[in-house]
Symmetry: D2
Subunit: 323 residues, 4 copies
């Protein structure tokens, strides 16, 4: 391989730039040319390519977002779209791809390989930590720290006013962000998609907390399929506990941005280096992961379809720690 391309796709996540930097420098270190594709599959179809030198990825390791930008692309889901993309790659002499993103990105790469035999190695870039084949995804640790920082701030007010705060965090179908920020934030209760916690259980826990003289409480709610569900739950709780001063906060998009944490920078750097080396060594159609501190590779199909279970011990620990 003489020339490869790197792109980011799906929702942005802190650490994506650190991963781009590492993939680019690792490829160059191994004597291979690199181009960046702007706006993922959309830019691939449109031929929006940019040569990347070692210098052009300087001073980005600490930046949130993605310098290669990201966009949705319906066209790539069609065979015609992928044919256009393939033509662009051929025209530019690109022989392999590094995709940084989530399940949508890897589904696209999977189809692309089947159609046109273009090898892709993926790096898991999503704050949701919902990909099988890696302990952590790029951006997750930063998102948890950002959520925690917000919870710490909100607790100042909760304590000062003896309030209950119900705080919705991101994570789509995964409760990872909720559980970690709940434990780290000293929450009284965490509601996650993996367990069907009912409003009744919330009401019960808060009542019990009151009996134990808890003046204020934090409930962390994972957004689940539909962002905003915290408002419905809060409505139930307010009706059942009219004497509680209950407030709602949805943390929203601040969780996607910001400087990557140390863990995310190092994780992303390791994955970027491993992805470039793997691609140059002939691997394809796999996602790089780190499990038990070791680099591992998982076929895209498994990374997307298999589910990664939450650590049950963590979920149980919330009960012990909130007494």
């Amino acid at each position: 391989m003489k020339k490869i391309a790197v792109f980011t796709s799906g929702g942005d996540a802190p650490g994506m730039n650190a991963c781009v930097r590492a993939a680019v420098r690792s490829a160059i270190y191994n004597g291979v040319e690199v181009v960046g594709i702007i706006r993922g599959y959309k830019g691939m179809i449109e031929g929006d390519f940019q040569p990347l030198s070692s210098h052009s990825v300087s001073n980005i390791i600490q930046k949130g977002g993605t310098i290669l930008k990201s966009a949705r692309c319906e066209e790539f889901k069609t065979k015609e779209g992928r044919a256009k993309a393939y033509d662009q790659l051929v025209k530019n002499g690109i022989e392999g791809l590094i995709a940084i993103g989530g399940d949508g990105s890897f589904t696209g790469a999977d189809l692309f390989l089947k159609d046109f035999d273009i090898p892709t190695i993926g790096c898991p870039g999503t704050i949701d930590n919902d990909l099988y084949g890696t302990d952590y995804t790029i951006g997750f640790d930063t998102a948890v720290n950002t959520a925690l920082d917000a919870i710490d701030k909100i607790r100042d007010t909760a304590d000062s006013h003896d309030r209950v705060f119900m705080i919705e965090v991101m994570g789509r179908n995964s409760g990872y962000i909720a559980v970690q920020s709940g434990i780290g934030g000293g929450a009284e209760l965490v509601m996650i998609p993996e367990y069907q916690t009912t409003s009744e259980e919330v009401i019960h826990a808060l009542s019990k907390g009151k009996e134990n003289k808890k003046a204020s409480s934090i409930v962390v709610v994972a957004e689940g399929k539909v962002a905003g569900r915290v408002h419905d739950i809060a409505k139930d709780v307010k009706e059942a506990l009219p004497h509680f001063d209950i407030r709602v906060s949805t943390l929203g998009h601040i969780q996607r941005g910001g400087k990557p944490s140390a863990l995310d920078r190092i994780l992303a750097s390791r994955m970027g280096v491993a992805a470039a080396e793997a691609l140059l060594n002939g691997r394809k159609n796999e996602m790089v992961g780190i499990i038990d501190d070791k680099i591992v590779f998982t076929p895209f199909s498994d990374a997307i379809s298999k589910s990664k279970p939450l650590n049950d011990d963590l979920v149980k620990m919330v009960n012990v720690l909130s007494i």
Copy 2:
């Protein structure tokens, strides 16, 4: 005066603890005893008093919220309620009060003085910066910095995805937080209660930005009377500009908490010292303020009723800076 009491009232604001510490130590320095009243007027009525030594306010200057807690109190609005409070003060030998809070707190103090001749000096503690008689209120600078930090994070995503973000910040009827965080955050537009910016103007500004090749934009919206109005505006804009990718974020309660900034710690410390000295020197029924770096005193009635105008130059500057 031999003994005074300090309390916080209204919404909590970062720097209130720094102000409590300064008032307490300044009083003690001047040979006067101090008690803290827990939960403002509510605690005054219930006699929830706590002696405060120099040591008991150690290590709180950097803490958000208020260690003296805050609460609403309907009862104090009645003459009977105030009579109970007065009895508690007399019983505890308290001869003067330092109230840290906003207009509600000062209205209460004003009534209290009229009924029972208890002297109060107020310190302006509110993130909204909406009190006449001081350039800054305690908590405002921290709230702006917190909003900015969130806007910086959201811009990472806005840039990565070429999106428009409409971000609602706090401030009630005042546009101070919105203007400052809008300028500091590099916003394309700021919507504040003081000017009746219409949805049409937002639509016009965003369209013009697109013509000027702006890929992403930030619109900062002051909450105004009803928190959540950003959603209505966003609906209008989405309808008019269907090709824009528009997202909404309401920053909410994170703006109230967190470590106070340097400015807020120093401001709060100066005000706390000045309040204690003024009370001991016989002043009453006035709010301490700092205007042009000098300590000034304003009657409660003026502080509450007079309006503090926004600096028009700042508002106009947004247009120049967003080209």
Copy 3:
């Protein structure tokens, strides 16, 4: 067991309070009484004990330092000292100990068990990450993030002025903080005790960087046995490269303090819970660790004496990433 005691010992580390909270609540959850010992072995000898309820560890999970304080204690190294400590424990009905600290703390516990058969379980609390038997020690992740934050700030100046900055980080004999903050900070070179990097190698690397048009460079130096060695190295480099603008910064004690990161809060919470459960289940003389996300126990003697090797891949990666 009906009553146990918790204490912190050695240098403070962010997350120690989260660990204290978890140990206390886990013990209470299991029906056991808990007291805190103030200032470690010193307080044990002096009988400085404090009953801890679930409530008394509220709102400390986010606090740096240790609410139980820490101190050196020469007296405990003598048999007489330990006898005094034992008497205090017996007098207070304390049947087991949870020690949060580093190798000095565990050496003491080991001797204590041999003399008086008091069971202790240890939790690894040190920013240096130099204990065998756990992937991470409590405080390490926060220290790396703090170092990174400082490096990010210093790079602003390095870039603006085309300078070389040599930055000394903590870690005693271990290069963990240096390697992680070096990779995360995009350093051109990392000097660690595990490898005998000479001044010549630094000079060579900086010269090569200049040839590659690097305008500014960051060198991260682990303090090693003697804090301040960065000044000697910088002197050599300045002599060899008189045309470089070289500055030195020693990060110092800021690395020990601050709010614990998400990882440290969760790690410390898990370890605290596991320590209490282990002690109640009859384990003794072991340190709790987490390896590959699983709770493990290591005899104190191994935790102290065995060395934990750095991940060589990380060390090598610095070269790839700094091209």
Copy 4:
């Protein structure tokens, strides 16, 4: 005027980029072309100019350092050097200058005007806040907040170990940073160049603190003429108080970098806009300042030579607040 140039000079300060952005956009808004000069007077002599569009200063308001870089330039101090610089400006059609920097920068501009009648308007960019003609210089508020953040972290350790920490902050001959970070950080004592505090006074204050049962203390020391003087003072104190556990920390270059605070972004934006407007309106040889929230202009000679007194009330307040 049809074309002007902007440059930064002297030590970098957070907010310089916000000022560059504002000056550039304000000039363009007024129909004038702008170029950036790279590395201040050095780049002026070498003709290192770069055209700046509104777009080229996007997304820099939040960045520390200066995108225009800064460098020392001995050559500009000679008439020959200035003649070269003048030729470059003429060749490039540049008719006026905006200089962002400190006294060195303004001294150069003053000489330049006398020799070649090139008008310059200056913006005060230095963390030291030592320029006459403005309440705040660009970067000062951020530097104080950074110092405070470090002091907060160090206090965690000071409290945990009952230690005295002597912390050296920047500021050259000015005590501004020391006083503000001392008050904000709850320091027991602040040593500044404006007052000749002796080691004896430090020893006395610490002894008194011990009598008052202060377990830990923070002393903030302004660097003064020679950075590192804290070590000499600490040596004296250690000798006189051998039973105190005294540690030293020099905060160093972290104080120059990082994201600018809200105050610095707004201050820098206002100054940048005012500087461009003033230059276009024919003003020259003056520094923009903000006093009592109003834009004012001060001749370079006064800005450099007149001294700005510290607010004595703040200095005295340290004694009241540290009881």
